[in-house]
Symmetry: C2
Subunit: 246 residues, 2 copies
């Protein structure tokens, strides 16, 4: 066995690297095509990591006597699907997620993840209140699983543009999945929503370099050779944890 | 929201139920058809739970200065596939798994899980040594992911019958996945291999009722309504753990 490639994190003192959109896409493509990971498998892993991060940032015990309500806002593509899986795991962790998923994907895999949530009696909202106070009062936090890596922040269409206007005004904490919605993947954002928590998946993106909130990385599954090929310099995950706070 | 169905484990003091093969198959069928879970998703969840159980039963620190070698023996069907996923996660937890997978499935999904292990440089043995001492010396433990729920213990074919003869003689601990190979799912076994650890998936099977070794249950993902429908009386999982020691 060749063990020279096995402990990338511990053998280097190089700093963690923040990757570009192109690199993130290349890694995902390599996972799918070379390593033959499946989208269903990866989305399950990512959504689970997001739910664990939320339990760390906002434990049930921190929510006092009120019901541990969480609004999970899901976009049309893969990021939204990660939100669905996150909601399902939050339900198993005894949170009370509610999903807002305005444009359902026609992709069969995404539909399967939707059915899993519906069958578990997780409520789906038919519209997002424009009266921000209603959101502040009804939920402890909002999960932003809207646009993610795929979207073009210069060309955010409806209903997402309007949703971002609403989310910029909410007073409850926002947790963003991988890339805060409306941010450019490759640049720090001064506009856009302002999450309190960011959950980077696989490796942090360039836009996260100046993020000052609570920052988690969920990427324990990533094969060592890919970590090395892209010089990710990932930190060592503690124990069997699927994520780490940076 | 209807919360009457949400905390099955905590609302009952009924004992954990050990389910039959027919019930286990009915639950799996319901997960796949009604809840639209995917096989890839379930196998990933199960294999991950197995790897976590192994880290709890045999932590790296318990293996002294020797390399933390684990022999993962994989059967031809779903149980073998769970073994492949378990091996992959063990690798990420810095164990050194070696896989013996004598009859590779022609199922594309199973092949994908195989490629993931190969690409991560996990070695595959081309044969199982019949000289038991070689196995005892080379590995700390053996993972039995051979026959599982699907197989008919009264009709174990080669190469598995021969492999079970070998595994009955090894002196290192055996960890069985879901159902110890060669056991009847519905009855306690007096013959067959004698695992030190059993990892039940979803719910424990009837054959596990008299098992006296270390017994883990990995089934945190199981929707509450299914738990209730089958009167499983599952214990409450601690924190966000995906498994519990019974």
């Amino acid at each position: 066995m060749n063990h020279s490639t096995t402990k990338v994190g511990s053998e280097t003192s190089e700093p963690l690297r923040y990757i570009s959109k192109a690199e993130a896409e290349a890694i995902e493509s390599e996972l799918l095509k070379e390593y033959r990971f499946g989208p269903q498998q990866l989305i399950e892993i990512w959504g689970h990591a997001c739910a664990i991060a939320i339990t760390k940032a906002y434990p049930l015990s921190s929510m006092g006597r009120k019901q541990p309500t969480v609004l999970v806002v899901c976009g049309p593509d893969q990021n939204g699907c990660i939100g669905l899986v996150c909601a399902r795991h939050l339900r198993m962790f005894e949170y009370e997620p509610t999903i807002y998923y305005p444009k359902r994907s026609s992709n069969g895999l995404h539909q399967d993840f939707t059915v899993q949530c519906e069958k578990m009696d997780i409520p789906f909202l038919s519209y997002l209140p424009t009266e921000v106070q209603l959101i502040n009062d009804a939920y402890h936090l909002v999960i932003d699983a809207i646009l993610g890596l795929e979207a073009d922040p210069a060309n955010v269409k409806e209903p997402y543009a309007g949703m971002l206007v609403t989310l910029k005004q909410v007073k409850i904490p926002i947790v963003s999945v991988d890339v805060p919605s409306g941010w450019d993947v490759d640049e720090a954002s001064t506009e856009g929503i302002n999450p309190e928590v960011l959950i980077s998946l696989t490796a942090p993106k360039k836009c996260a370099a100046s993020f000052t909130g609570k920052h988690f990385l969920g990427g324990r599954y990533l094969p060592y050779d890919i970590q090395k090929k892209y010089d990710l310099n990932l930190p060592e995950y503690p124990g069997t944890d699927c994520l780490i706070e940076l």
